[in-house]
Amino acid sequence: MIQVNAMGDTCPVPVVKTKNAIRDLNGAGVVETLVDNAIAVQNLTKMANQKGYGVKSERLAENRFKVIMTIGEGAAPPEPTQDECCLISPPGTQKNTVIVIDDDRMGDGSDDLGKTLMKGFIYALGQLDTLPKMLLFYNGGVVLACEGSPCLDDLNSLQAQGVNILVCGTCLNFYDLADKLQVGEVTNMYVIAETMTQADLIVKP
Protein backbone atom coordinates (compact mmCIF):
# COMPACT_ATOMS: atom_id res chain seq x y z
CA MET A 1 0.00 0.00 0.00
CA ILE A 2 1.24 3.46 -0.84
CA GLN A 3 0.05 6.57 0.97
CA VAL A 4 -0.04 9.90 -0.82
CA ASN A 5 -0.31 13.16 1.07
CA ALA A 6 -1.98 15.74 -1.14
CA MET A 7 -3.24 17.98 1.67
CA GLY A 8 -2.97 21.61 0.60
CA ASP A 9 -2.51 20.69 -3.07
CA THR A 10 -4.82 22.19 -5.68
CA CYS A 11 -6.12 20.16 -8.62
CA PRO A 12 -4.61 18.56 -10.65
CA VAL A 13 -1.71 17.94 -8.24
CA PRO A 14 -3.53 15.31 -6.10
CA VAL A 15 -4.29 13.36 -9.28
CA VAL A 16 -0.70 13.72 -10.55
CA LYS A 17 0.74 12.48 -7.22
CA THR A 18 -1.72 9.58 -7.11
CA LYS A 19 -0.89 8.57 -10.69
CA ASN A 20 2.79 8.51 -9.79
CA ALA A 21 2.06 6.32 -6.76
CA ILE A 22 0.00 3.91 -8.89
CA ARG A 23 2.90 3.70 -11.32
CA ASP A 24 5.22 2.92 -8.41
CA LEU A 25 2.98 0.01 -7.41
CA ASN A 26 3.99 -1.72 -10.62
CA GLY A 27 0.84 -3.81 -10.66
CA ALA A 28 -1.87 -4.65 -8.20
CA GLY A 29 -2.13 -2.81 -4.92
CA VAL A 30 -3.77 -0.05 -2.96
CA VAL A 31 -3.08 3.68 -3.01
CA GLU A 32 -4.52 5.92 -0.32
CA THR A 33 -4.58 9.64 -1.02
CA LEU A 34 -5.27 12.32 1.59
CA VAL A 35 -6.82 15.54 0.27
CA ASP A 36 -8.40 18.58 1.90
CA ASN A 37 -11.44 19.22 -0.33
CA ALA A 38 -14.40 17.35 -1.75
CA ILE A 39 -13.77 18.43 -5.35
CA ALA A 40 -10.34 16.75 -5.27
CA VAL A 41 -12.11 13.58 -4.04
CA GLN A 42 -14.42 13.82 -7.06
CA ASN A 43 -11.55 14.34 -9.50
CA LEU A 44 -9.70 11.31 -8.05
CA THR A 45 -12.89 9.23 -8.17
CA LYS A 46 -13.42 10.28 -11.78
CA MET A 47 -9.94 9.06 -12.72
CA ALA A 48 -10.45 5.75 -10.86
CA ASN A 49 -13.76 5.16 -12.61
CA GLN A 50 -12.27 5.90 -16.04
CA LYS A 51 -9.33 3.59 -15.34
CA GLY A 52 -11.47 0.82 -13.85
CA TYR A 53 -9.86 0.94 -10.40
CA GLY A 54 -11.83 0.16 -7.29
CA VAL A 55 -12.45 3.38 -5.39
CA LYS A 56 -13.99 4.50 -2.13
CA SER A 57 -13.61 7.64 -0.13
CA GLU A 58 -14.27 8.76 3.41
CA ARG A 59 -14.38 12.05 5.20
CA LEU A 60 -12.01 11.99 8.15
CA ALA A 61 -12.63 15.54 9.34
CA GLU A 62 -14.10 18.75 7.97
CA ASN A 63 -11.23 19.40 5.58
CA ARG A 64 -9.63 15.98 5.46
CA PHE A 65 -10.66 13.21 3.09
CA LYS A 66 -9.15 9.83 2.24
CA VAL A 67 -9.56 8.29 -1.21
CA ILE A 68 -8.66 4.61 -1.40
CA MET A 69 -7.98 3.16 -4.83
CA THR A 70 -7.58 -0.55 -5.40
CA ILE A 71 -5.67 -1.40 -8.52
CA GLY A 72 -6.39 -4.93 -9.71
CA GLU A 73 -4.02 -7.27 -11.54
CA GLY A 74 -5.76 -6.67 -14.82
CA ALA A 75 -6.08 -2.91 -14.53
CA ALA A 76 -4.42 -0.74 -17.10
CA PRO A 77 -1.41 1.11 -15.71
CA PRO A 78 -1.93 4.86 -15.61
CA GLU A 79 -1.44 6.78 -18.82
CA PRO A 80 1.44 5.01 -20.49
CA THR A 81 2.43 7.91 -22.69
CA GLN A 82 3.43 7.16 -26.24
CA ASP A 83 7.08 7.43 -25.40
CA GLU A 84 6.80 5.07 -22.47
CA CYS A 85 5.09 2.51 -24.66
CA CYS A 86 8.19 2.37 -26.77
CA LEU A 87 10.51 1.63 -23.85
CA ILE A 88 11.36 -2.02 -23.90
CA SER A 89 11.54 -2.92 -20.25
CA PRO A 90 9.94 -5.91 -18.55
CA PRO A 91 7.54 -5.09 -15.73
CA GLY A 92 9.05 -4.68 -12.29
CA THR A 93 12.27 -3.13 -13.46
CA GLN A 94 11.41 0.50 -12.91
CA LYS A 95 14.55 1.91 -11.38
CA ASN A 96 14.92 3.85 -8.19
CA THR A 97 17.09 6.51 -9.77
CA VAL A 98 18.74 9.10 -7.51
CA ILE A 99 20.39 12.18 -8.97
CA VAL A 100 23.21 13.48 -6.77
CA ILE A 101 24.15 17.15 -7.20
CA ASP A 102 27.19 18.23 -5.18
CA ASP A 103 28.18 21.35 -7.09
CA ASP A 104 26.44 24.20 -8.90
CA ARG A 105 28.61 23.46 -11.94
CA MET A 106 28.60 20.46 -14.28
CA GLY A 107 31.97 19.08 -15.34
CA ASP A 108 35.51 20.45 -15.05
CA GLY A 109 36.61 23.54 -16.99
CA SER A 110 34.98 26.94 -17.27
CA ASP A 111 32.86 27.91 -14.24
CA ASP A 112 30.41 29.85 -16.42
CA LEU A 113 29.98 26.98 -18.83
CA GLY A 114 29.64 24.57 -15.89
CA LYS A 115 26.77 26.61 -14.43
CA THR A 116 25.00 26.83 -17.79
CA LEU A 117 25.36 23.08 -18.25
CA MET A 118 23.97 22.36 -14.78
CA LYS A 119 20.91 24.54 -15.44
CA GLY A 120 20.39 22.71 -18.73
CA PHE A 121 20.79 19.33 -17.04
CA ILE A 122 18.16 20.05 -14.40
CA TYR A 123 15.77 21.39 -17.04
CA ALA A 124 16.34 18.28 -19.17
CA LEU A 125 15.57 15.99 -16.21
CA GLY A 126 12.04 17.36 -16.19
CA GLN A 127 11.61 16.51 -19.86
CA LEU A 128 12.58 12.84 -19.48
CA ASP A 129 9.95 10.19 -20.15
CA THR A 130 10.97 8.45 -16.96
CA LEU A 131 11.58 10.90 -14.17
CA PRO A 132 14.13 10.15 -11.45
CA LYS A 133 12.81 9.21 -8.03
CA MET A 134 14.90 11.74 -6.15
CA LEU A 135 17.26 14.68 -6.41
CA LEU A 136 19.82 14.89 -3.62
CA PHE A 137 21.69 18.16 -3.06
CA TYR A 138 24.76 18.45 -0.85
CA ASN A 139 27.88 20.60 -0.44
CA GLY A 140 28.16 23.18 -3.27
CA GLY A 141 25.00 21.82 -4.89
CA VAL A 142 22.64 23.21 -2.23
CA VAL A 143 22.78 26.76 -3.67
CA LEU A 144 20.74 25.48 -6.63
CA ALA A 145 17.76 24.92 -4.32
CA CYS A 146 18.10 28.34 -2.71
CA GLU A 147 17.04 31.91 -3.44
CA GLY A 148 18.76 33.29 -6.54
CA SER A 149 19.15 29.89 -8.20
CA PRO A 150 18.36 29.82 -11.93
CA CYS A 151 16.89 26.32 -11.50
CA LEU A 152 14.00 27.03 -9.12
CA ASP A 153 11.25 26.85 -11.73
CA ASP A 154 12.54 23.56 -13.07
CA LEU A 155 12.96 22.12 -9.57
CA ASN A 156 9.45 23.23 -8.57
CA SER A 157 8.12 21.60 -11.71
CA LEU A 158 10.00 18.35 -10.96
CA GLN A 159 8.65 18.40 -7.42
CA ALA A 160 5.11 19.00 -8.70
CA GLN A 161 5.52 15.91 -10.87
CA GLY A 162 6.30 13.83 -7.79
CA VAL A 163 10.12 13.87 -7.75
CA ASN A 164 11.46 14.05 -4.18
CA ILE A 165 14.01 16.78 -3.57
CA LEU A 166 16.26 16.46 -0.52
CA VAL A 167 18.76 19.09 0.56
CA CYS A 168 21.57 18.57 3.07
CA GLY A 169 20.87 20.58 6.23
CA THR A 170 24.46 20.64 7.44
CA CYS A 171 25.47 22.13 4.10
CA LEU A 172 22.75 24.81 4.23
CA ASN A 173 23.96 25.82 7.69
CA PHE A 174 27.61 25.82 6.61
CA TYR A 175 26.92 28.15 3.69
CA ASP A 176 24.51 30.23 5.81
CA LEU A 177 21.61 29.43 3.45
CA ALA A 178 19.18 27.86 5.92
CA ASP A 179 16.61 30.65 5.50
CA LYS A 180 17.13 30.88 1.75
CA LEU A 181 15.91 27.39 0.83
CA GLN A 182 13.18 27.66 -1.84
CA VAL A 183 12.47 24.09 -2.88
CA GLY A 184 12.83 20.59 -1.39
CA GLU A 185 13.08 19.18 2.11
CA VAL A 186 16.00 19.50 4.50
CA THR A 187 17.62 16.17 5.25
CA ASN A 188 20.47 14.65 7.26
CA MET A 189 23.41 12.38 6.58
CA TYR A 190 21.59 9.27 7.77
CA VAL A 191 18.89 9.75 5.11
CA ILE A 192 21.49 10.68 2.49
CA ALA A 193 23.43 7.48 3.21
CA GLU A 194 20.29 5.37 3.20
CA THR A 195 19.01 6.93 -0.03
CA MET A 196 22.28 6.35 -1.83
CA THR A 197 22.79 2.78 -0.64
CA GLN A 198 19.23 1.80 -1.59
CA ALA A 199 19.26 3.41 -5.03
CA ASP A 200 19.21 1.24 -8.15
CA LEU A 201 21.07 3.91 -10.03
CA ILE A 202 22.96 6.97 -8.87
CA VAL A 203 23.52 9.66 -11.45
CA LYS A 204 26.02 12.41 -10.78
CA PRO A 205 26.24 15.04 -13.51
Partner: protein, 343 residues
Protein backbone atom coordinates in the same frame (compact mmCIF):
# COMPACT_ATOMS: atom_id res chain seq x y z
CA UNK B 1 13.60 33.94 -7.03
CA UNK B 2 13.10 34.82 -10.68
CA UNK B 3 11.00 37.95 -10.39
CA UNK B 4 10.19 38.31 -14.07
CA UNK B 5 7.82 35.37 -13.86
CA UNK B 6 4.50 35.00 -12.10
CA UNK B 7 3.73 32.14 -9.76
CA UNK B 8 0.54 30.41 -10.83
CA UNK B 9 -1.69 28.40 -8.56
CA UNK B 10 -4.43 27.83 -11.12
CA UNK B 11 -5.74 31.17 -12.23
CA UNK B 12 -7.79 32.65 -15.00
CA UNK B 13 -11.42 31.72 -15.05
CA UNK B 14 -10.69 28.45 -13.24
CA UNK B 15 -10.59 30.65 -10.15
CA UNK B 16 -14.26 31.54 -10.54
CA UNK B 17 -16.81 30.49 -7.92
CA UNK B 18 -19.02 27.64 -9.12
CA UNK B 19 -22.24 28.56 -10.91
CA UNK B 20 -24.32 26.46 -8.54
CA UNK B 21 -23.23 28.08 -5.28
CA UNK B 22 -23.26 31.54 -6.83
CA UNK B 23 -26.92 31.23 -7.85
CA UNK B 24 -27.88 30.31 -4.28
CA UNK B 25 -26.34 33.54 -3.00
CA UNK B 26 -27.69 35.83 -5.73
CA UNK B 27 -31.24 34.55 -5.35
CA UNK B 28 -31.38 35.81 -1.77
CA UNK B 29 -30.02 39.32 -2.27
CA UNK B 30 -32.41 42.19 -1.53
CA UNK B 31 -33.80 44.05 -4.53
CA UNK B 32 -34.27 47.79 -4.47
CA UNK B 33 -37.10 49.50 -6.34
CA UNK B 34 -37.45 48.38 -9.95
CA UNK B 35 -35.85 50.64 -12.56
CA UNK B 36 -37.23 50.19 -16.06
CA UNK B 37 -34.01 51.53 -17.51
CA UNK B 38 -32.01 48.59 -16.17
CA UNK B 39 -32.44 46.49 -19.31
CA UNK B 40 -30.11 43.69 -18.17
CA UNK B 41 -29.21 43.13 -14.52
CA UNK B 42 -27.99 40.13 -12.61
CA UNK B 43 -31.43 38.55 -12.58
CA UNK B 44 -30.75 37.37 -16.11
CA UNK B 45 -27.24 35.94 -15.41
CA UNK B 46 -26.00 37.78 -18.49
CA UNK B 47 -22.43 38.84 -19.28
CA UNK B 48 -22.76 42.51 -18.40
CA UNK B 49 -25.35 44.97 -17.16
CA UNK B 50 -27.14 47.25 -19.63
CA UNK B 51 -28.61 50.55 -18.42
CA UNK B 52 -30.64 52.80 -20.75
CA UNK B 53 -29.75 56.49 -20.60
CA UNK B 54 -32.13 57.63 -23.33
CA UNK B 55 -33.82 56.24 -26.43
CA UNK B 56 -30.55 56.00 -28.35
CA UNK B 57 -27.93 55.18 -25.74
CA UNK B 58 -27.39 52.57 -23.09
CA UNK B 59 -24.35 51.88 -20.93
CA UNK B 60 -22.85 48.39 -20.75
CA UNK B 61 -20.99 47.63 -17.51
CA UNK B 62 -18.80 44.65 -16.73
CA UNK B 63 -15.79 43.73 -14.66
CA UNK B 64 -13.52 40.73 -14.49
CA UNK B 65 -10.28 40.02 -12.68
CA UNK B 66 -8.41 36.89 -11.64
CA UNK B 67 -5.05 35.39 -10.63
CA UNK B 68 -2.47 34.52 -13.29
CA UNK B 69 -2.88 31.32 -15.30
CA UNK B 70 0.48 31.71 -17.05
CA UNK B 71 3.86 32.87 -15.76
CA UNK B 72 4.51 35.60 -18.37
CA UNK B 73 3.22 38.87 -16.81
CA UNK B 74 2.81 40.70 -20.12
CA UNK B 75 0.74 37.91 -21.68
CA UNK B 76 -1.26 37.58 -18.45
CA UNK B 77 -2.12 41.29 -18.68
CA UNK B 78 -3.24 40.89 -22.27
CA UNK B 79 -5.37 37.85 -21.45
CA UNK B 80 -7.00 39.41 -18.37
CA UNK B 81 -7.88 42.51 -20.40
CA UNK B 82 -9.14 40.58 -23.44
CA UNK B 83 -11.28 38.52 -21.05
CA UNK B 84 -12.76 41.58 -19.33
CA UNK B 85 -13.38 43.45 -22.59
CA UNK B 86 -15.11 40.39 -24.03
CA UNK B 87 -18.30 40.89 -22.04
CA UNK B 88 -18.91 44.20 -23.81
CA UNK B 89 -18.70 42.41 -27.16
CA UNK B 90 -20.95 39.60 -25.94
CA UNK B 91 -23.58 42.29 -25.24
CA UNK B 92 -23.15 43.77 -28.74
CA UNK B 93 -21.57 46.94 -27.37
CA UNK B 94 -18.56 49.12 -28.10
CA UNK B 95 -15.78 49.64 -25.54
CA UNK B 96 -15.39 53.21 -24.25
CA UNK B 97 -13.47 53.33 -20.95
CA UNK B 98 -11.69 50.86 -18.70
CA UNK B 99 -10.43 51.01 -15.10
CA UNK B 100 -7.55 48.83 -13.91
CA UNK B 101 -8.18 46.46 -11.00
CA UNK B 102 -4.90 45.44 -9.36
CA UNK B 103 -4.00 43.22 -6.40
CA UNK B 104 -0.25 42.99 -5.94
CA UNK B 105 2.15 41.94 -3.14
CA UNK B 106 4.14 44.86 -1.74
CA UNK B 107 7.30 42.78 -1.69
CA UNK B 108 7.18 41.83 -5.37
CA UNK B 109 9.17 43.46 -8.17
CA UNK B 110 7.13 46.39 -9.54
CA UNK B 111 8.47 45.67 -13.03
CA UNK B 112 6.21 42.61 -13.02
CA UNK B 113 3.21 44.82 -12.36
CA UNK B 114 4.40 47.18 -15.09
CA UNK B 115 4.44 44.32 -17.58
CA UNK B 116 0.97 43.12 -16.56
CA UNK B 117 -0.49 46.61 -16.95
CA UNK B 118 1.32 47.20 -20.24
CA UNK B 119 -0.30 44.05 -21.63
CA UNK B 120 -3.68 45.21 -20.35
CA UNK B 121 -3.33 48.75 -21.69
CA UNK B 122 -2.38 47.51 -25.15
CA UNK B 123 -5.54 45.42 -25.35
CA UNK B 124 -7.75 48.33 -24.22
CA UNK B 125 -6.19 50.48 -26.96
CA UNK B 126 -6.70 47.69 -29.50
CA UNK B 127 -10.34 47.58 -28.37
CA UNK B 128 -10.68 51.28 -29.19
CA UNK B 129 -11.09 52.26 -25.52
CA UNK B 130 -9.09 54.29 -23.04
CA UNK B 131 -7.79 53.47 -19.57
CA UNK B 132 -9.43 56.11 -17.40
CA UNK B 133 -8.07 55.10 -13.99
CA UNK B 134 -7.99 52.19 -11.60
CA UNK B 135 -7.59 50.90 -8.08
CA UNK B 136 -4.87 48.83 -6.46
CA UNK B 137 -4.71 46.76 -3.28
CA UNK B 138 -1.73 45.20 -1.53
CA UNK B 139 -2.53 41.50 -1.46
CA UNK B 140 -0.74 38.21 -0.90
CA UNK B 141 -1.30 37.09 -4.49
CA UNK B 142 -1.32 38.82 -7.86
CA UNK B 143 -4.70 39.48 -9.43
CA UNK B 144 -5.48 41.72 -12.36
CA UNK B 145 -8.42 42.72 -14.50
CA UNK B 146 -10.56 45.59 -15.72
CA UNK B 147 -13.84 47.25 -15.06
CA UNK B 148 -15.10 48.19 -18.51
CA UNK B 149 -17.82 50.56 -19.66
CA UNK B 150 -19.22 50.37 -23.16
CA UNK B 151 -22.16 51.73 -25.08
CA UNK B 152 -24.89 50.09 -27.11
CA UNK B 153 -28.15 51.13 -28.66
CA UNK B 154 -30.90 50.13 -26.18
CA UNK B 155 -32.76 48.28 -28.93
CA UNK B 156 -29.71 46.49 -30.26
CA UNK B 157 -27.94 44.80 -27.35
CA UNK B 158 -27.51 41.02 -27.39
CA UNK B 159 -29.13 39.21 -24.47
CA UNK B 160 -27.79 35.73 -23.75
CA UNK B 161 -31.16 34.02 -23.26
CA UNK B 162 -33.21 35.03 -26.31
CA UNK B 163 -32.31 32.27 -28.78
CA UNK B 164 -35.18 30.97 -30.93
CA UNK B 165 -36.08 27.37 -31.81
CA UNK B 166 -34.38 26.46 -35.06
CA UNK B 167 -31.45 28.84 -34.45
CA UNK B 168 -27.97 27.63 -35.20
CA UNK B 169 -25.25 28.04 -32.57
CA UNK B 170 -21.83 29.34 -33.63
CA UNK B 171 -18.69 29.18 -31.47
CA UNK B 172 -15.81 31.48 -32.47
CA UNK B 173 -12.81 30.10 -30.52
CA UNK B 174 -11.46 26.66 -29.73
CA UNK B 175 -12.23 25.11 -26.32
CA UNK B 176 -9.63 23.61 -24.00
CA UNK B 177 -7.42 26.51 -22.87
CA UNK B 178 -8.20 25.79 -19.19
CA UNK B 179 -6.98 22.19 -19.45
CA UNK B 180 -3.88 23.27 -21.40
CA UNK B 181 -2.94 25.87 -18.77
CA UNK B 182 -3.51 23.26 -16.04
CA UNK B 183 -1.27 20.75 -17.83
CA UNK B 184 1.30 23.50 -18.23
CA UNK B 185 1.26 24.18 -14.50
CA UNK B 186 2.47 20.63 -13.80
CA UNK B 187 4.93 20.69 -16.71
CA UNK B 188 2.89 18.43 -19.00
CA UNK B 189 1.80 20.81 -21.77
CA UNK B 190 3.77 21.07 -25.00
CA UNK B 191 5.17 24.52 -25.83
CA UNK B 192 3.16 24.47 -29.08
CA UNK B 193 -0.12 23.81 -27.25
CA UNK B 194 0.62 26.55 -24.74
CA UNK B 195 1.53 29.03 -27.45
CA UNK B 196 -1.68 28.31 -29.35
CA UNK B 197 -3.72 28.68 -26.15
CA UNK B 198 -2.10 32.04 -25.33
CA UNK B 199 -2.68 33.23 -28.88
CA UNK B 200 -6.36 32.33 -28.57
CA UNK B 201 -6.76 33.93 -25.13
CA UNK B 202 -5.13 37.21 -26.20
CA UNK B 203 -7.39 37.51 -29.26
CA UNK B 204 -10.08 40.14 -28.72
CA UNK B 205 -13.67 39.12 -29.41
CA UNK B 206 -14.01 42.56 -31.00
CA UNK B 207 -13.40 41.17 -34.48
CA UNK B 208 -15.98 38.40 -34.13
CA UNK B 209 -18.47 40.96 -32.78
CA UNK B 210 -17.83 43.24 -35.77
CA UNK B 211 -18.72 40.37 -38.13
CA UNK B 212 -21.99 39.93 -36.23
CA UNK B 213 -23.12 43.51 -36.95
CA UNK B 214 -24.34 42.60 -40.44
CA UNK B 215 -26.54 39.79 -39.10
CA UNK B 216 -29.69 39.50 -37.01
CA UNK B 217 -28.18 37.99 -33.86
CA UNK B 218 -30.82 36.41 -31.60
CA UNK B 219 -28.59 35.78 -28.59
CA UNK B 220 -24.91 36.00 -27.70
CA UNK B 221 -22.65 35.20 -24.77
CA UNK B 222 -18.95 34.55 -24.25
CA UNK B 223 -17.50 31.32 -22.96
CA UNK B 224 -15.57 31.79 -19.72
CA UNK B 225 -15.40 30.13 -16.31
CA UNK B 226 -18.57 28.04 -16.44
CA UNK B 227 -17.32 26.31 -19.57
CA UNK B 228 -19.12 25.81 -22.88
CA UNK B 229 -22.01 23.84 -21.38
CA UNK B 230 -22.42 26.19 -18.41
CA UNK B 231 -22.74 29.25 -20.63
CA UNK B 232 -24.94 27.38 -23.09
CA UNK B 233 -27.20 26.57 -20.12
CA UNK B 234 -27.52 30.32 -19.46
CA UNK B 235 -28.53 30.71 -23.10
CA UNK B 236 -31.21 28.01 -23.03
CA UNK B 237 -32.30 29.44 -19.65
CA UNK B 238 -34.69 26.53 -18.89
CA UNK B 239 -36.96 27.86 -21.67
CA UNK B 240 -35.40 26.03 -24.62
CA UNK B 241 -33.46 22.90 -25.38
CA UNK B 242 -30.53 22.42 -27.68
CA UNK B 243 -28.59 19.73 -29.46
CA UNK B 244 -24.80 19.94 -29.67
CA UNK B 245 -22.73 17.96 -32.14
CA UNK B 246 -19.48 17.28 -30.29
CA UNK B 247 -17.39 16.60 -33.39
CA UNK B 248 -18.31 19.99 -34.86
CA UNK B 249 -17.07 21.92 -31.82
CA UNK B 250 -13.71 23.67 -32.38
CA UNK B 251 -11.23 22.43 -29.76
CA UNK B 252 -7.51 22.21 -29.11
CA UNK B 253 -6.63 18.56 -29.80
CA UNK B 254 -3.95 18.65 -27.08
CA UNK B 255 -6.65 19.39 -24.50
CA UNK B 256 -8.18 15.97 -25.23
CA UNK B 257 -4.85 14.28 -24.57
CA UNK B 258 -4.33 16.16 -21.30
CA UNK B 259 -7.90 15.44 -20.21
CA UNK B 260 -7.19 11.75 -20.74
CA UNK B 261 -4.27 12.22 -18.33
CA UNK B 262 -6.77 13.70 -15.80
CA UNK B 263 -4.95 17.04 -15.70
CA UNK B 264 -8.24 18.64 -14.69
CA UNK B 265 -9.17 21.59 -12.54
CA UNK B 266 -11.41 21.80 -9.52
CA UNK B 267 -13.47 24.35 -11.45
CA UNK B 268 -13.98 21.84 -14.27
CA UNK B 269 -15.33 19.32 -11.78
CA UNK B 270 -17.62 21.98 -10.28
CA UNK B 271 -18.90 22.65 -13.79
CA UNK B 272 -19.54 18.91 -14.21
CA UNK B 273 -21.50 18.79 -10.95
CA UNK B 274 -23.54 21.77 -12.09
CA UNK B 275 -24.15 20.34 -15.58
CA UNK B 276 -25.52 17.06 -14.24
CA UNK B 277 -28.89 18.73 -13.82
CA UNK B 278 -29.28 19.87 -17.43
CA UNK B 279 -26.89 18.13 -19.83
CA UNK B 280 -26.85 14.59 -21.21
CA UNK B 281 -23.89 13.11 -23.09
CA UNK B 282 -24.77 10.44 -25.64
CA UNK B 283 -21.69 8.44 -26.63
CA UNK B 284 -19.28 11.34 -26.14
CA UNK B 285 -15.75 10.23 -25.08
CA UNK B 286 -14.66 11.18 -21.55
CA UNK B 287 -11.97 13.61 -22.70
CA UNK B 288 -14.42 15.50 -24.93
CA UNK B 289 -16.89 15.75 -22.04
CA UNK B 290 -14.13 17.37 -20.01
CA UNK B 291 -13.31 19.84 -22.79
CA UNK B 292 -16.98 20.84 -23.05
CA UNK B 293 -16.96 21.48 -19.27
CA UNK B 294 -13.51 23.10 -19.19
CA UNK B 295 -13.47 26.62 -17.68
CA UNK B 296 -12.27 28.98 -20.40
CA UNK B 297 -10.33 32.17 -19.87
CA UNK B 298 -11.04 34.73 -22.58
CA UNK B 299 -13.05 32.17 -24.55
CA UNK B 300 -14.94 32.79 -27.76
CA UNK B 301 -18.42 34.13 -28.45
CA UNK B 302 -21.34 31.73 -28.60
CA UNK B 303 -23.85 33.17 -31.06
CA UNK B 304 -27.43 32.12 -31.89
CA UNK B 305 -28.97 33.20 -35.17
CA UNK B 306 -31.36 31.93 -37.82
CA UNK B 307 -30.36 28.80 -39.70
CA UNK B 308 -30.43 30.60 -43.05
CA UNK B 309 -27.85 33.19 -41.96
CA UNK B 310 -25.52 30.95 -39.97
CA UNK B 311 -23.30 29.57 -42.78
CA UNK B 312 -22.59 33.08 -44.06
CA UNK B 313 -21.53 34.33 -40.62
CA UNK B 314 -19.25 31.31 -40.14
CA UNK B 315 -17.68 32.05 -43.51
CA UNK B 316 -16.98 35.66 -42.54
CA UNK B 317 -15.55 34.67 -39.15
CA UNK B 318 -13.25 32.19 -40.84
CA UNK B 319 -12.13 34.81 -43.32
CA UNK B 320 -10.72 36.88 -40.44
CA UNK B 321 -8.86 33.83 -39.15
CA UNK B 322 -11.17 32.56 -36.41
CA UNK B 323 -11.79 28.79 -36.07
CA UNK B 324 -15.56 29.38 -35.99
CA UNK B 325 -18.06 26.58 -36.59
CA UNK B 326 -21.75 25.74 -36.28
CA UNK B 327 -21.86 23.48 -33.22
CA UNK B 328 -25.56 22.80 -32.70
CA UNK B 329 -29.10 24.04 -32.84
CA UNK B 330 -31.76 25.40 -30.51
CA UNK B 331 -34.89 23.25 -30.18
CA UNK B 332 -38.27 23.43 -28.57
CA UNK B 333 -38.19 22.08 -25.02
CA UNK B 334 -37.13 18.43 -24.99
CA UNK B 335 -36.73 15.93 -22.14
CA UNK B 336 -33.26 17.28 -21.39
CA UNK B 337 -32.08 20.86 -21.77
CA UNK B 338 -28.77 20.14 -23.53
CA UNK B 339 -28.18 16.94 -25.47
CA UNK B 340 -24.67 16.29 -26.76
CA UNK B 341 -24.14 13.61 -29.38
CA UNK B 342 -20.84 12.39 -30.77
CA UNK B 343 -21.35 13.43 -34.40
Amino acid sequence: MDQTKLFCKGGGCTAKLGAGILSRVLEHLPHGPEDANLLVGYDSKDDGAVYRLNADQALVHTLDFFPPMIDDPYAFGQIAAANALSDIYAMGGEVKTALNIVCFPETMDLNVLGEIMRGGAEKVIEAGGIIAGGHSIADSDVKYGLSVTGVVRPDQYYANNTAQPGDRLILTKRLGVGIICTANRVGEASPQAMEAAVQSMTTLNRYAAQCCKAFDIHACTDITGFGFLGHLHEMTDRKRSCHIHAKQVPIFEEALAYADEFLLTAAGQRNRNHAEGFARFEGVPFAMEEVLLDPQTSGGLLIALAQAEAPQLVQQLRQIGLPAAIVGEIEETADVEIRITND
